[in-house]
Chain length 446, copies 2
């Protein structure tokens, strides 16, 4: 077993950039040293841009030395999931149909990151078209295990200390699940929270988000992007302060079981219950399906989260899967071919019914906001499984995707010595409030 | 002055395909004959795919002969606005930054059209990035005049009889304005009505739509697309019968002046008032700002339609304009550079305020549905202007874009012997109802 991997927070290092004890270039070199040692095993990257990153780090170092950084993330090394376009690197989408494909342009988020001074260190492994067929990436905590997906390389790269933040996308569980398995922080914003321009994830639940080394690395990466490029067209985008929101202790949290709870082993259940006890001891009221009828209703509705998500995603992925299949179906994985065949039998009227049902479940969940500050849950049914074939069970994280609400995974739990995330769910457009809540939860439990 | 151009309805010809008196191949050859005679003057196309269209027309002819057409538009020649991707042709977006650029893939709508048997005859001229800087296309009714924009080539091509339907996009007035100027039918669906996958129009008010030779050519093109590929992800998409909705006489229509009314000359005003009189005589009640307080409120709110649209579009086009400007700002038109510079001074919080205001105006307009079947108005302040520099005033058509409601332009008016459109506006997701209403209006006025 390798040395225990260590997250590397850029934000924690910035005071030393100001004082002159450290520089973004030195920070980058520590990342590159870690990559030299471990990337051959972890396989987080599809492609890197190290010379450009070094040049950008030098420029950032000079700005911090002059106390004139472009932003709070000036010089931060970032990995970019390989469904998001970059001008200087290919965008392969985890598919042989796109290996080496270059759009030649930066996505909205990548352009914003560069304008903020961040270093685009490389493109990170994604599953095939950000769905389920896995890439080669391994879990830095145990190379025999999956890192989770679909934002596999971004999660593994943060876990291994290769970079402080990685862009990801989530339509089912593609940010929070790998965050859980890799022991990093993960954030999926409110629907439309980060501009998806130039990112190849077209589905209506899909959201761009971030995996990072700390809450501060997450928040500042997101807010520096959104300040420069907004959310999706038509959406307000993540709003909040230009510093990490101050911790604010919740008055009441809903403990959500979700359809995942029945799959959780006794020791992890006990660990989660222990955390709830600690929160209660600190003065946070915890309500659950047993104590509140409105929670019970939401829990029942969330039993539909996965099948409804699959129906919605199925219709929404008919295009472009039809043009991919027409070009060369043999280059789609068997799972993707099967999804496409199922999609071909779907009808617009079925899809409309699914949208109506989703809207009703969202309204039901939104009703919880009058009595609670957020929800607490697990991020996964357990630690990452052995083997790379499956990216894991999304039962705990698909609700946040279906609901379109902000969701955070904090690396505060473990099972058998391997990380498991604690999940916090907020309410739509209350992204900053979720970070304030998470800060308080982390103080109580950390 | 050339011969008066003649629209060429494919749907009107289909009975003859079934009876064997005509074939889609012969129909195509008539279109190609018209192109031979007039395309050198009209300049509707950026690129054509005539051999492929002929082969597809032969296949469609065989299917009609066997009475087994793939769809009601099997063999229909279609032009595709050059911001929408096609596997076999470049997508130049009216910009020297993209001249000859090939994605290599069909957009969702083009794939659906091909699956329905339609012939993708060519890519049609768009203004620069579907905004205001014009292309070379001329108005087939008077070559000294603008065809309108931004869907210039699709409108001119339908007007000249080169094809029966052209795909367009509208975020301000880019379908209905050229439809008005070129004397063709134009339809902008409810927001999200046609899947925009593979179309380079990212803005929140933007909508894919169709310019066509008749109401039937419009409706069947739209419904055959949406049945196969849906609307935008998260939207129900245009819904309705697989045949043109039967005419249904409205009980009451709102006559909307919009900010355009003050710019209209007396003869066109009189012609419009004459149409209202005919509708009244047929039993349709007409209400306006003078007779109904709720209409007056909407009219007042619509004074904001253009400035609010410009603010929203400005923020939403910051990306990708920033990456275009970074690559080579000299390849952007002066107008586009100015838009980009203005966008650079916008802030997310201003954009959020604009979204809130837009939502309020949409709610106000939606309130009209309880007392009226739709709205009637002009599509333009007058006939197309001389010169190609300006694509015309969008005062009458920007309200439909801001509101996200279905909008039709019918070529029923004229000014100085040149076409002007009559505009009908419906209510969100009531696209089929708007066609039923339009059919009745056309029967009364035609």
């Amino acid at each position: 077993m390798p040395n225990r991997p260590r997250r590397r927070s850029f934000i924690a290092a910035t005071p030393a950039f100001v004082s002159g004890q450290d520089t973004p270039r030195a920070f980058l070199e520590r990342c590159l040293g870690e990559m030299d040692a471990r990337e051959k095993d972890v396989l987080a990257f599809v492609e890197t841009a190290i010379p450009a990153a070094r040049a950008a780090a030098d420029a950032a170092s000079a700005r911090w030395r002059d106390n004139r950084p472009l932003s709070s993330i000036d010089g931060m090394p970032v990995g970019v999931k390989d469904v998001i376009e970059t001008a200087d690197m290919a965008t392969g989408m985890g598919s042989p149909l796109f290996t080496g494909w270059r759009s030649g342009w930066d996505s909205a988020s990548v352009k914003a990151l560069r304008d903020a001074g961040a270093l685009i260190l490389g493109k990170t492994v994604t599953t095939e078209f950000a769905a389920s067929f896995p890439g080669p990436t391994r879990n830095p905590h145990d190379l025999t295990r999956t890192p989770g997906g679909s934002s596999s390389g971004s999660a593994a790269g943060v876990a291994a200390g290769f970079f402080s933040a990685g862009l990801g996308t989530q339509v089912v569980g593609s940010i929070l699940r790998p965050a859980s398995f890799c022991g990093v922080y993960g954030f999926k914003p409110s629907l439309g929270g980060i501009n998806r321009g130039g990112s190849h994830d077209y589905m209506s639940q899909s959201c761009q988000g971030v995996l990072g080394a700390s809450l501060a690395d997450l928040w500042l990466t997101v807010i520096e992007i959104v300040t420069r490029t907004g959310g999706d067209p038509g959406y307000p985008g993540v709003a909040g302060p230009m510093t990490l929101p101050s911790p604010k202790q919740p008055r009441r949290l809903v403990a959500l079981e979700t359809p995942g709870w029945g799959k959780v082993g006794a020791p992890l259940k006990a660990a989660f219950e222990g955390m709830l006890a600690k929160l209660r001891a600190a003065g946070v009221e915890i309500v659950g399906r047993a104590s509140a009828a409105e929670v019970s209703q939401v829990e029942t509705a969330l039993e539909e989260a996965l099948p409804l998500t699959r129906d919605i995603n199925g219709w929404e992925s008919l295009w472009p899967l039809n043009i991919y299949a027409q070009r060369d179906a043999s280059k789609l994985s068997p799972a993707m071919r099967q999804r496409f065949e199922e999609s071909c039998h779907m009808k617009p009227e079925d899809y409309r019914r699914s949208l109506t049902r989703r809207a009703a479940i969202r309204a039901l969940y939104a009703g919880l906001a009058s009595g609670a500050d957020g929800c607490i849950s697990l991020s996964a049914t357990g630690a990452a499984l052995v083997g790379l074939q499956s990216t894991g069970d999304p039962a705990f994280v698909v609700p946040g995707s279906l609901l379109g609400v902000p969701a955070l995974s904090l690396p505060l739990l473990s099972e058998g010595g391997l990380p498991v995330g604690l999940q916090l769910l907020g309410f739509e457009q209350k992204d900053a409030e979720l970070f304030a809540l998470a800060g308080a939860v982390e103080q109580i439990l950390g």
